[in-house]
């Protein structure tokens, strides 16, 4: 089970890493797309990072053109995260067979490795970045992590408002599908569609 504060910490580090890697100012909007969690988390994370003096938000005339820039202190932190990431990645490439698996493990572990390692590894067993198929999801509420459908269905699902990062509520399971609620809209999904929608567990802090 992952707590909201944990997600926030992960999101904050991810933001620093993305901006640090780009090595230039990054559009705020881009950031919201890069991180697969609810936009409200991203907003919160950005606000906290700004308060901690790690990033600066600069905006040009047009309001959708807001950029994130690292402060000096932020750059130092970002570099540390990037380094940690690459060390971990090397380690996992040796240990694991597939590249994907290694990157995935790294992406998760980098946030925890400096804290109590064993404790976190225990946590990790339930927290996969890929998420759990909606059909196997046991909680009532979750975050959509990933949608894996052919482009036709994919666009249809997205344009209906079923979007990675949104909070999803499972209202009911019926014999031929699942009834879900997203932002006050109710949908019924075939089980074959639902199993391709991966959901993350989370718990309100």
């Amino acid at each position: 089970m992952t707590k909201e504060s944990d997600i926030l910490k992960i999101v904050k580090e991810d933001i620093l890493e993305v901006v640090g890697r780009k090595n230039k100012r990054t559009p705020l909007k881009f950031m919201k797309l890069e991180v697969t969690v609810s936009h409200s988390f991203v907003s919160k994370a950005i606000k906290e990072l700004e308060e901690e003096g790690l990033i600066k938000i600069s905006s040009e005339k047009r309001p959708w053109k807001e950029y994130i820039q690292l402060t000096k202190e932020g750059q130092v932190r970002a570099n540390a995260i990037i380094k940690k990431h690459s060390v971990l990645e090397k380690y996992f490439f040796k240990e694991r067979r597939s590249e994907e698996e290694a990157i995935e493990a790294t992406n998760i572990l980098e946030h925890y490795i400096s804290t109590e390692v064993i404790d976190t590894i225990k946590k990790l067993s339930t927290f996969k970045k890929e998420g759990i198929p909606l059909t196997e999801f046991k909680q009532e509420e979750g975050l959509i992590a990933n949608i894996n459908l052919n482009i036709g269905l994919f666009e249809r699902v997205i344009s209906m408002g079923i979007y990675p990062g949104e909070k999803i509520r499972i209202t009911d399971k019926i014999p031929n599908g699942i009834i879900i609620e997203i932002k006050n809209k109710k949908f019924v999904l075939d089980n074959n569609i639902a199993k391709e929608i991966k959901v993350l567990e989370y718990e309100k802090s």
Binding site: L33, I174, F187
Partner: protein
């Protein structure tokens, strides 16, 4: 005078058709279920010195051409060239509407947002800053409320200001509107492909559609090889189409977030959720659905009978006064035609209208989509998508509009499969045969066993098709609209639209069918035509004369009963045994029922398929009826 063509575009249930009604009057189906408007409805209205042609389009979530409904809108937008689009947005879920706005802006079509449900959203604590949205997107945003008309002028002004005439548009619309910036690698691919774009559509837009794997847009490229070249550079990002889609929705929700203020409210009580617990329950759901349908059927039979009785006695006295006139051939033919018409009107009209009225109520309350979910469990087993519930249910009224309604389905194969099952869904005329002959002479139980036999015959047919033809049917993916109080005006308007096919096509043809039968009878041809078919009568175990109503019923189904009486005399129960009446009922009701339905099938699926289906279904019905009475008499 200036001419403009403006499209109304929006998600299902967003109030598109209601807006159309407020703008130009009640001329279109309004509905609380996705997919009622499959054709585009058009009407003109003059404002000052501009004639605006409004076009209502089916409810869609995006303009990509993945389903029949989306294709209709896509055609209206790009092939028939619209001067502008009004997008009806839902204040409750702005980002979803903005997704489509962004898509249409990419096509560089002048766009106006009509923001609906503003009050409803405010009650839920969602407040939208229209001015800010206007500034962000650089297009007009007009809040509307479909219960009043105050906003109409503002909307029309916005249209006149935003949508220049076609000749001026090209220069003026190389536009100032908002554009999405995609990731660098996607932008690079876009500019690469746009160099090869050809024709009047915006180059960037064509490139985007091509990258989104829309093959219909390949024809706008000078050289299709460029796709491969552009994708070569995208190897690191194999899911470009998905990325474009995600970025577009992300941008939409980013803009929505910027202009939306959410005031947290206490949790509202949700009656709808409780109703859904029952209506979508694994056992109660199908049960309530069938109960509802049975209740409708009951009301129909009861009220329909009442109205039918009154109309019949009226038309009979009318016909009688005509019939005493001189007996020239022309009057006989005329009387036959009028009889056909009168019987058609008095039998079919009350059933059909009542049925569509009740069906419209179900739709607007929001019950229909729940019924579809329940029906899908069963329909899936016979290889049909949940949505096919709509045409199948409409078939209980009249097969002709029901055939047209198969258009809500996304593939031609699904449409044809569903249409073929209409051979087993008794329409009002066939119900009249079952109730009026079988039920009247041999009792209600036998009538119901005919209904049950139709069901069994239909199931065998459907399983047969599923076994031999593999149809990939669309998985269930449906928005469940909130329950709303239906507006009676809308329900009436909608029933009328559905009736239109019946009134303008079916009723005149009923008269023609009557006349055709009259002529054949006068010329003494009826027996001659029927004679070579006498083996069919032997197969069915029926007297040869009964072939006359069976064969000529195809011209005018409602005349079947009258013809049977005229060949056998009014004491049918003496002339035929109960088994014979039962066999006759089945033979008369399985199959594509009449020449008018055949005409609609030809229109939708082409001559070959329509004739093939009609003949096969009728032969199937005859085989079934013949086999059945043999089995029954065996015991």
């Amino acid at each position: 005078m200036k001419n403009l063509k403006i499209l109304l575009i929006g998600q299902p249930n967003v109030g598109k058709s209601s807006l159309f009604n407020v703008l130009v009057g009640p001329k279109v189906v309004v509905s609380n279920y996705p997919g009622t408007t499959v054709e585009v409805a058009q009407t003109e209205k003059i404002f000052g010195n501009t004639k605006i042609m409004f076009e209502d389009t089916p409810g869609i979530y995006s303009i990509s051409d993945r389903s029949e409904e989306e294709k209709v809108t896509e055609r209206a937008l790009f092939e028939e060239e619209a001067d502008g689009a009004i997008i009806i947005a839902d204040a409750n879920s702005l980002e979803r509407s903005l997704y489509m706005v962004l898509q249409i802006l990419e096509a560089e079509i002048p766009t106006i947002i009509a923001l609906n449900f503003v009050e409803e959203a405010e009650k839920r604590g969602i407040k939208i800053d229209c001015e800010k949205l206007e500034k962000l997107l650089n297009i007009p945003v007009v809040p509307i409320n479909l219960l009043t008309k105050k906003w109409v002028n503002k909307l029309v002004d916005a249209i006149l200001k935003t949508c220049p005439e076609r000749s001026r548009r090209i220069k003026e619309v190389a536009r100032r509107d908002f554009k999405i910036e995609y990731d660098d690698h996607i932008e690079r691919a876009i500019s690469k492909i746009s160099t090869q774009a050809n024709g009047r559509l915006p180059k960037r837009f064509v490139a985007l559609r091509v990258l989104e794997e829309d093959e219909d847009f390949y024809k706008y490229l000078k050289n299709e090889k460029v796709i491969g070249d552009a994708k070569e550079n995208l190897k690191e990002h194999p899911k470009v189409a998905e990325d474009i889609c995600i970025t577009r929705y992300g941008t939409a929700s980013f803009i929505a977030e910027k202009v939306t203020q959410i005031i947290p409210l206490g949790k509202e009580k949700k009656l709808g959720a409780k109703i859904d617990r029952i209506l979508l329950h694994k056992t109660w759901g199908p049960l309530t659905t069938s109960l509802f349908l049975l209740a409708i059927f009951g009301i129909l039979l009861y009220l329909g009978n009442l109205i039918q009785g009154v109309l019949m006695s009226l038309t009979e006295s009318l016909l009688f006064s005509l019939g005493v006139a001189e007996h020239s051939i022309i009057t006989i033919i005329l009387v036959q035609g009028l009889t056909g018409l009168a019987i058609g009107v008095s039998i079919a009209l009350p059933y059909v209208f009542l049925f569509y009225l009740l069906f419209g109520l179900l739709e607007d309350i929001g019950l229909l989509s729940r019924f579809i979910v329940n029906a899908e469990r069963f329909l899936k087993k016979i290889g049909l998508p949940g949505k096919s519930f709509i045409p199948l249910a409409l078939g209980l009224g009249c097969t002709v509009p029901a055939t047209r309604a198969t258009r809500v389905l996304s593939s031609k194969k699904e449409q044809f499969h569903t249409a073929s099952l209409l051979a087993f869904v008794p329409c009002s005329s066939r119900i009249a045969i079952i109730m009026g002959i079988v039920g009247f002479y041999e009792g209600i139980q036998l009538a119901f066993s005919v209904f049950a036999t139709l069901l069994v015959a239909g199931l065998i047919w459907a399983f047969g098709i599923k076994k031999f033809i593999h149809i990939k049917s669309e998985p269930l993916l449906l928005e469940l609209p909130p329950y709303r109080r239906p507006l009676i005006k809308n329900v009436l308007a909608k029933s009328w639209i559905r009736m239109k096919d019946f009134v303008y096509i079916v009723i005149p043809l009923l008269a023609l069918g009557g006349i055709a039968y009259g002529i054949l009878k006068i010329l003494g041809l009826t027996n001659i035509i029927v004679e070579p078919l006498s083996p069919i009568a032997i197969w069915l175990g029926l007297p040869a004369v009964t072939l006359i109503p069976l064969v000529f019923g195809f011209l005018q189904k409602d005349l079947t009963g009258a013809m049977l009486i005229s060949v056998l005399g009014s004491k049918i129960s003496l002339a035929l045994t109960p088994i014979q009446i039962y066999t006759f009922g089945i033979a008369a009701t399985i199959g594509i029922p009449c020449i008018i339905a055949l005409g609609m099938l030809i229109k939708e699926f082409g001559f070959k398929k329509a004739i093939g289906l009609t003949i096969t279904s009728i032969i199937y019905g005859l085989l079934f009826a013949g086999l059945l009475w043999r089995i029954i008499s065996f015991f």
